[in-house]
Amino acid sequence: MITRVTSTTMMNSASRNMQSAAAELSRLQEKASTQKNISRPSDDPAGTAAALQVRADQKLNAQYTKNVQDGNEWLTTVDSTLSSVTALLQRANVLTVQGANDGALTPAAKETIAMELESIRDSLLAASNTQYAGRSVFAGTSDAGHAFTSPDYAYAGVKGSSVERRIGEGQTIRLDGDGAAIFGEGADSVFAALDAIAADLRAGVNIGPRITTVATHLTTVSSQQAVIGSRQATVLSAGETLLDAKVSLESRRVSIEDVDLAEIILDLKMQETAYQASLAVTARALQPTLMDFLS
């Protein structure tokens, strides 16, 4: 069938073609200026679901990264405190060994040792109450503000509780040092032990048997420090994993959501040409009628 072509149909089809070329041009312009492949869900429903997922994962990643930083600070505080605790206990060990030399020491010398031991005890007590961001790092989830107080050296923390940070979807890490395990509690605590040594020295009792007590505490602290160190290593490696994930998540988001600049500009240029062509063709086609040639 040969369709009858009239001025009206030509005019209509010309305006329709220009309209569709202009619509396509505007669509490409929107894409190019927003740089977004998906600006509404119907552009790519499956891609939209993936984009929502990636964005959520990115936010989670950012939160875990914050947690890792916070956790690292905590663990650094615990670790450096335990280092100084070790140094103090080593000094206490030396003093205890010195003080055990009954025959060589005058009571005045013993008093000096006792006093130094007491000052070490005070320093240890202060170390056990170290705080990070307002929280006692050895008191677990307690809000007492301290882990141990003299003179009974009772543990103020909540036993069996731990402070944890989520550093991955299924991964948490413990941040606090277990105060009860590191320093001991009440009469069994390192503080009470030092008090007892000082008292023995003053009373003239031989402190030889107490040397092992101090050494045991020293071993406990060292092994706890090793635990803290390994946790810190875990946190740092989790931080690196998160950083890697951040990069790969961002590249996934870009590949889902963002346009290929070169491609879109090429498309835009082509469409611009197409639009101009349709304008030019329309201008030529609509001009002449038989009227132009009748005199």
Binding site: T6, T8, R40, D43, K59, D143
Partner: protein
């Protein structure tokens, strides 16, 4: 054959040529008139008078000229029919596609400010609270993010509901339009019938009626049947919308709001329809089955199971799921007062509209496990993980967005296809009925030449008579 019959014949040719020029002029005058169908003079040659009796001369006679038998309207009922049926489909898809586009825009996804992003922020804030459970600042962030989330859910629901309202209002206007068009068709039917009876031209009225029936088709897929007396009947869902000179009005009945309220009662006292539907004014309660047209599209979108209602239900489901998940999680924790709920659903009305947050400070949020220390935040940590569960509000939202996106994509495609069909039908119709300048110019020239030729014939006749009357019998004078 009479002496003057030739003059009469030439005169009829002059008239015919003039009619041709008039019609060509009329066509050109209406080049851009919407709905105008081109016209043609129909001519017929007039046969010679019969020869009666034995004395009739045996000579041949050429005939008595030309007669204008009418002015034909070059419409094609089949093409018109095609235009009406494709326009009905295009109208149906157009309304659905534009409503769905509006709906998907109101989702505001994917974006950095949509509900999805807000949900993630909300879960993240629980992590922060878990890190410092006694911090009022961290608690304030959780409460703020929760409030913002509730506000966004409410806003989304309101957007859908107001879209429903405006679509309902629009459908109501279209119903009025449909009734007005039906009444005009009925009136034109009467005018055309009497014009045909009295022999007056009907072409202009037919053009008008054709435009009206097209708009009825676009509105509600009214089908047209032609009657022998020149009138048309318009059927809607199998029943008469226009029957001869009578139009049967329709009304849009059903709820006035997306939650199904405001349906009112029928005049007979029965409860109004539970879904928005088109009814005959004379038979309230019985829905007219609409399978096309803009009204059909609107009614399908307004239906209780339609896209808008489902979207509104999704917002409600989100609010409910959020409340259930968070409150259930927090029930394992403890606060000083013993109250652990975070979200509160409204006791009546849409859940999405009345979602509120109960706690105002850190001590009122049950982030601490029963038996845990004062600074325990393990419950808050568990809450922060809700977003990762398979039946989380996040998953619900993501599937809502995806399904609306997919539906919209399909509907947009359908709309493009329906548009193509409608455009092609309308192009075919225009190709048949629209005025072409070149053609009319040619017709004009032909009529002009015919006029000139007839005038020439007349002159020849005149000269002949002059010879006969003035010059005959003068030989040798």
């Amino acid at each position: 054959m009479s002496t003057f019959s030739g003059i009469n014949a030439a005169q009829s040719a002059l008239q015919a040529a003039r009619a041709g020029i008039d019609v060509a002029g009329q066509n050109m005058n209406n080049l851009t008139t919407e709905g105008y169908t081109r016209q043609r003079v129909t001519l017929a040659s007039v046969a010679p008078t019969g020869r009666i009796g034995m004395l009739a001369s045996p000579t041949f006679s050429a005939g008595q000229g030309v007669a204008v038998t009418g002015i034909a309207r070059l419409a094609n009922e089949m093409l018109d029919q095609k235009v009406r049926s494709t326009a009905a489909s295009a109208g149906f898809s157009y309304v659905r596609a534009s409503a769905l586009s509006g709906l998907e825009k109101s989702l505001n996804e994917p974006s950095t400010t949509g509900i999805s992003a807000q949900l993630t922020d909300f879960w993240s804030s629980w992590q922060t609270l878990s890190n410092s459970p006694n911090s009022d600042a961290a608690a304030a962030v959780v409460i703020e993010e929760g409030t913002a989330l509730a506000a966004q859910i409410k806003q989304g629901y309101t957007a859908v509901s107001s879209q429903w309202d405006s679509l309902r209002g629009n459908a109501s206007l279209q119903t009025d339009e449909l009734n007005a068009a039906a009444a005009q068709v009925a009136e034109l039917n009467g005018m055309i019938r009497s014009a045909l009876a009295s022999g007056t031209p009907t072409n202009a009225m037919l053009d008008q009626r054709s435009m009206l029936t097209s708009s009825i088709a676009t509105l509600a897929r009214g089908t047209v049947t032609q009657n022998t007396d020149g009138t048309v009947d318009v059927l809607l869902g199998g029943n008469m919308l226009v029957s001869g000179t009578t139009a049967n009005p329709v009304t849009l009945a059903g709820p006035r709001s997306i939650d199904g309220s405001g349906a009112g009662t029928n005049p007979d006292g029965t409860a109004g329809a539970t879904a928005v539907q088109l009814e005959w004014a004379s038979r309230p309660g019985a829905a007219i089955a609409l399978d096309g047209g803009e009204l059909g599209g609107a009614v399908s979108m307004l239906a209780p199971g339609g896209a808008l209602a489902s979207a509104a239900n999704s917002y409600n489901a989100m609010a409910t799921a959020l409340t259930k998940k968070v409150n259930e999680g927090l029930a394992k924790g403890q606060t000083a007062s013993g109250a652990t709920d975070f979200f509160r659903l409204p006791t009546s009305g849409a859940a999405a509209l009345g979602l509120t947050i109960i706690p105002t400070k850190a001590s009122e949020i049950a982030s601490r496990a029963i038996g845990g220390g004062a600074l325990d935040g393990s419950i808050a940590d568990k809450i922060s993980l809700i977003g990762k569960q398979t039946d989380s509000p996040d998953a619900l939202w993501s599937s809502t967005v995806t399904s609306i996106g997919a539906t919209t994509k399909t509907e947009l495609k359908l709309s493009v296809l329906a548009d193509l069909a409608a455009t092609s039908a309308s192009t075919n119709q225009l190709a048949n009925s629209s005025v072409d300048l070149d053609e009319e110019n040619v017709n004009l020239l032909m009529s002009q030449q015919a006029y000139n030729a007839a005038a020439r014939v007349l002159t020849t006749m005149d000269e002949m008579l002059d010879t006969l009357i003035n010059r005959t019998g003068l030989v040798g004078r």
